[in-house]
Symmetry: C2
Amino acid sequence: MDNAIAALQHDRDRLGRSSTAERVADVLRERIAEGLFVPGQRLSEETIGVALGVSRNTLREAFRLLGHERLLEHRLNRGVFVRVLSVEDVADVYRVRRVIECAAVRHSGNAGPQALALIGEAVEEATRAAAEGRWQDVGTANIRFHQMLAALNGSARLDETMRQLLAELRLVFHVMKNPRAFHEPFVARNLRLLELMRAGHAAEAERELESYLDDAEELLVKAYIPEP
Amino acid sequence: MDNAIAALQHDRDRLGRSSTAERVADVLRERIAEGLFVPGQRLSEETIGVALGVSRNTLREAFRLLGHERLLEHRLNRGVFVRVLSVEDVADVYRVRRVIECAAVRHSGNAGPQALALIGEAVEEATRAAAEGRWQDVGTANIRFHQMLAALNGSARLDETMRQLLAELRLVFHVMKNPRAFHEPFVARNLRLLELMRAGHAAEAERELESYLDDAEELLVKAYIPEP
DNA sequence: TATTGTCGAATTGTTGAACAATCCTTACGT
DNA sequence: ACGTAAGGATTGTTCAACAATTCGACAATA
């Protein structure tokens, strides 16, 4: 009985539905992630408000949320725009990734087997997609790989930070012309990384991940054509 | 001439002032930080809107910003409340701190002398305040110490994350009855940490910081009386 | 031609009023 | 003590309005 009540607390967030502003933010976040809105594009309050059937004020609340997630950029009296990442932004994102993901790998010895299993699923999905030439899906699976990797830290806040970082990086992915060139080399390295962790070689895994991220950053910047 | 134009780009952010919603968020953030609004307290749209002389819609935009920073909590149809951190929240914040700050210390060898100087200033300020029994100021200086410590990572995003984390922790500080008991022991340890880094003993500094954070978390949870 | 000044349309920033939906309290009845 | 009904209060959301600002076009000037 007391146990049943404790179980219910898990469903609490499913109860109180979200506000319209949050749901609008969810929709826009998804559209940005899939590249329907491209970096630099302005999001007109009028247009989007009519399209989604919400008032300008509600829409502005949603814009504030996405602005705080660095997916949108507010320019005073000029409107909100889909964020355009500079090269320095990309470098900064990778700095954070190195900190978070390396910490995860370093303590991967304490990780439960089910946590590693989730990473394994992402590796398999990426391998499958790569074999079939679905490079877009490879990118998605790769993102999930790193999300699950960061989850080894066991911190809800770090998970959320990681989510935002990867969402930012997706902004860059959609500007790239050749997704295969960027994603293909890392399928095998993801697997190697996982096996090093499974074997308990945390230190070596960390070194591998560091050079992994160095290479990824360099490759990404090279394939990226931004404005300074 | 072309050089002068490049110099102007540095002043761009000083130009376009912020919107009302952002400035309202700044004010509220400050008030929450200084404990004028206590955790659990509800912030009435009507009351605060009148007090600040802004409309409900503008105020709601500010609330969205602070909600995303985890300083406020939205409860649907019930209003916004100053966040109440659970013990699990505190544990999570310290998990993130361990990741970010330990990474900073580990690479402190690459840090420039001016970065360490900023940390030194925070140590001195804490020492001075402790000698004069200004425990509130000791807490503030201590926060700046860790902010500057995290800045060794050289990442704007990590700086911002650290800012938010410490703002969350401040929520707990204001519920504590005995600030001295919590802050006093760490003044000396801050200094020791700095000296280890100055001497280039990064590895030992990292070990010291880990036990530092373990102790701080335990002490904080013990002195904290939250609801589950 | 190139630069500057001016005007008007379009969009944002912000407000205030309005209404439905929801929550909270209180009183009531069993 | 318990459930219920009524009510007032607050939030969620929309709408209309206005000032302020930006942007583009066009004319004026050198």
